[in-house]
């Protein structure tokens, strides 16, 4: 009977494709929007993810994220270095500056100053050039997304910039995760960054810390906080803080939430309507089957297999569509590093199951209510 159910479903091509479209579109909308949402949120933590070697971030107690930080006195570095369990501690500065390009345009950039000696604080990979270039005078390394934005269609290598009246030369391109706002990021040595960032008495944004063997990052944060009065967070905690900051301070969750909800509603509407029409068109056949002697349980199985088949194919198409979308735009700086977390297909699968269950149940009610005797009327 299940074969008959599938033939009934696929035989009415218009409705079959309509159902597939409904589920696929709904899945695509939910999966794609959730993927963009999660990846955008994660960009709130890009500053942390780009510094993979630091176990602990130490900051002023009022600092919240890698981009929202209150500067500390330089003595904070020595205080942290004095805490037992700290393997190493290096200064890290993050500031804003205006850059004048050779075309005369003005662009707001983020300046990140990394430890002069160890270069801890730089992204792991380089697309062009090497990290050694920072030892040359006035050198900066630009992030790849920033390079594409600031020098579209041209190589930034060797380009001279005017950074707050200071000379800077681009000598490398870093493979970095873009920030939430996709601001151009220039990496340089800490000592150089102090020249680029407008001066205040305190300039140290963070102290990056490596934990000694035998002590966990969490335990070290507690020690640092207790001993220095500064705020210390593990890498994961600080990354989560960046994500939370975006959730709390932007309308993004609401906007994406509305789109995901719309995807669900569109799915329910299209699939519900088409499935109801499909069942209504076949109600006489279902009635005849009931009269002939097909049990309600078998009929329910038939409707379930029809709904399940449409759901699985439509879901597969929707997820494939999302994968295609992400792949197609993978070279676009806006979508750099975007991936589909495994939880998202599960969420859209659950949404699809809900849509199919809801619409299938409504359709099944119509079939179950049909008396076999109706076929004689």
């Amino acid at each position: 009977m299940l074969w008959i159910a599938i033939r009934m479903l696929t035989g009415d091509r218009q409705k079959f494709y309509g159902l597939l479209f409904g589920i696929a579109f709904s899945t695509l909308l939910i999966t794609q929007q959730l993927t963009i949402f999660v990846n955008l949120l994660e960009r709130g933590a890009s500053g942390v993810y780009n510094v993979s070697s630091a176990d602990v971030w130490v900051m002023d107690p009022v600092s919240r994220t890698s981009d929202v930080a209150y500067a500390m006195p330089s003595t904070a570095l020595d205080q942290v270095r004095g805490v037992a369990g700290v393997e190493w501690a290096v200064p890290h500065i993050r500031g804003q500056a205006s850059v004048r390009t050779k075309d005369g345009d003005l662009e707001g950039v983020a300046i990140i100053g990394v430890d002069d000696a160890t270069l801890i604080g730089l992204p792991k990979g380089m697309i062009e050039g090497s990290t050694d270039v920072l030892s040359q005078p006035d050198s900066v390394i630009i992030d790849d997304v920033g390079a594409a934005r600031m020098f579209p269609g041209a190589s930034p290598m060797g380009e001279r910039l005017e950074l707050n009246d200071q000379r800077a030369v681009v000598r490398g391109i870093a493979d970095a995760i873009p920030s939430f706002t996709s601001t151009v990021v220039l990496y340089t040595k800490y000592s150089q960054a102090l020249r680029y960032v407008p001066g205040t008495r305190n300039r140290l944004s963070f102290v990056l810390v490596g934990a000694a063997d035998g002590i966990s990052a969490k335990e070290l944060t507690e020690r640092i906080e207790k001993q220095t009065g500064l705020k210390a967070e593990t890498r994961d905690e600080f990354a989560q803080g960046g994500v939370n900051f975006i959730i709390e301070n932007t309308g993004i969750p609401l906007n994406f939430g509305i789109t995901v909800l719309l995807g669900f509603i569109v799915g329910v509407a299209i699939v519900g309507l088409t499935f109801s029409l499909f069942i209504r068109d076949n109600i006489k056949q279902f009635g005849a089957l009931k009269a002939i002697g097909v049990t309600n349980g078998k009929i329910a199985q038939m409707v379930a297999i029809q709904a399940g088949m449409v759901g699985m194919i439509g879901y597969g198409l929707g997820v494939l569509g999302t994968v295609g979308f992400i792949s197609a735009f993978s070279n676009n700086p806006t979508f750099k590093g975007f991936y589909i977390p495994w939880q998202i297909p599960l969420i859209s699968f659950a949404a699809m199951v809900l849509i199919i269950t809801l619409t299938g149940w409504v359709a099944l009610r119509g079939v179950m209510k049909t008396e076999p005797a109706a076929v004689f009327r």
Binding site: I4, A291, E371
Partner: protein, 238 residues
Amino acid sequence: MSGQNTTTAIRTRGVTRDFSAGQNTITVLHGIDLEVQSGELTYLVGESGSGKTTLISIMCGILWPTQGEVEVFGTDIYALSDTELVNFRLQNIGFIFQQYNLIPSIDAASNAAVPLIAQGMDRKHARERGVAMLEKLNIADQADKLPNQLSGGQQQRVAIARALVHEPRLVVCDEPTAALDAKSGRRVMDLLREVGVAEDRSVIIVTHDNRIFDLADRILVLEDGRITHDGTDMPEDH
């Protein structure tokens, strides 16, 4: 009668059926008592609203009577559980519907095989039996066609094949000739008699097609929920 060793195919005792219409109750059948023998081609004739569809629905186990008993080949069908009754219909009753109700997306042979598939027979063997039945009805050459590729008469034969393929003991037909011209109608009735009526099988036909009244073994006339005539011919006043 076409057979010698007949048994009672259907026995009804005091079958009454009420329907609710708002706050009113309408009695459609008034204590019907009848017996139908196997080997008979029985017509159930009456005007619209006379209760013939209700009676045939009750006789084949798809509509519960308000009162009374119905035995089909000795089984009190409304004493069975729901599942048993459904299974009883699947094993013992063949249906031919006025609008055929064939499944549009499967071919004629598969449509004919539906009761066997529902009984759990594998599709290949069921389809072979379906083709064999279509052969008896002289449309085996149409076995691979979808219902919408067949004429009304051919669809009717597929419906007949579906009703007979599982060799039921009771076949019920609802207006089998309503959509056919006189010649085709008589041909279908001849086929039904030839293939459907057997010693151990009974065929009951609901009709008001006076072109085929002469082909019946027995005619029951229903008026206002009561049997007013039971004979081999139609009464003269009809």
